[in-house]
Amino acid sequence: MRYSGFRVIKEALTGHKGWTPAWRDPEPQDHYDIVIIGGGGHGLATAYYLAKEFGQKKIAVLEKGWIGGGNVGRNTTIIRSNYLLNGNEPFYEFSLKLWEGLEQDFNYNAMVSQRGILNLIHSDAQRDAFIRRGNAMILNGADAELLSVDQIKARYPFLNVNDARFPIKGGLAQHRGGTVRHDAVAWGYARGADSRGVDIIQNCEVTGFRTRNGRCLGVETSRGFIGAGKVGCAVAGASSRLMAKAEMRLPLESHVLQAFVSEGLKPVLPGVITFGAGHFYCSQSDKGGLVFGGDLDGYNSYAQRGNLPVVEDVCEGGMAIFPMLGRARLLRMWGGIMDMSMDGSPIIDRTHIDGLYFNGGWCYGGFKATPASGFCFAHLLARDASHPMATAFRFDRFEKGLMIDEKGVGAQPNLH
């Protein structure tokens, strides 16, 4: 069924009896050409692009719980492509371009809102770094604009540029950045994949891989063995746990990242703003809640909840840049588990087992990467070759010294 304004009117006049479920609930078959493990944003996007762009048939997505219940449902919904390094920036710009056409492409309202993102500058050194980053973005076809203090005052009159503890000296804006309704991304990809014949199998946990002579034959699951020509793993947050079943040790640590949302307010905050003198970023959801976050808790965790020192740190950052935040009550806070890689960049690559492919290590940049991650992983699965935008995201980059370390902090996952 195609969604449209006409359809809404027709259904309104006929008692809304014509709507059907957005995706089926099929029983798993014995064998698929391609099995994707993980029904999150990346796994569903991979299945969608495999079916739509790469002409693959007989695809299944296996999800241990319900689709979209992991990090695609637990993020701060920001999309942007303001990276510096060559391995990253073209990929994230590719992703942003896919976001721009996504809703028409999969015929679902994901509420993609290009309301802009502003990174604030508080020192001369930071200005130099942001000018360099802005130039890298422009060289890779993204948009970037260095804003003066006067321009920032005109656009964001509530910001205190002079008398604050960290006066604002400028900002780097990406006007095409913004926010997306995160759950709708999972649902839209699920619906688009399902309508092209992909089996989305929920409540189906993978418990092991069946391999013979170095080749993956399929997966053992809580609903029995499922044979597969190729298996793609897209379970960021649980990557080490899953790949341990294939006797792989990954260049990853799992860390918890907390996020917060205030009570609903009238429109007060246009776009996304990041504080440059601490780690704090904030946007206002369409429901009115201020959605914000900051640093990782900093220790290995699978708990999906964090501790109070980081709550205090994030709220201090918030109060430093938006003192008005102190008048709003906190509605909810939650934690998500991040695959923190050793250089802060992701991995989309083959493994040492033929027919077993890996997508993970998204650190806390996974949501904005969803479309490009799915597209590039589908390319790798369908053609057995890396997509040109994702050639740098290899497993062996650590062994070969080809790290993509945006911050240059080295192999310390909790600092990325």
Partner: protein, 95 residues
Amino acid sequence: MIIDHPLLGPRDSAEFTYLGDASLIDRPDGMAETAAEAFYAYQYLRDNPAGLHRELWYHEAGDRSWLVVTRDTVTHEIISVELARDVARARGRSR
């Protein structure tokens, strides 16, 4: 989280910084034939378990000792705390 320091008693985890897996104590032999592979695994690869995890914490805002904390990564419960010095010596390290 409260880390029960062997010398100082219970301390807030905010006083500490976190390094990572306690296997980082076992630095490979740089002169060995297989040093390149060993250092790659030492530096970059991690077990990253869900459950009990032995890990290194540094008491930066305290007595600056290194601790080996055994903690459950699913519940954040801290099971035991040892001085990293004692752990290293028990493994035959002299310093």
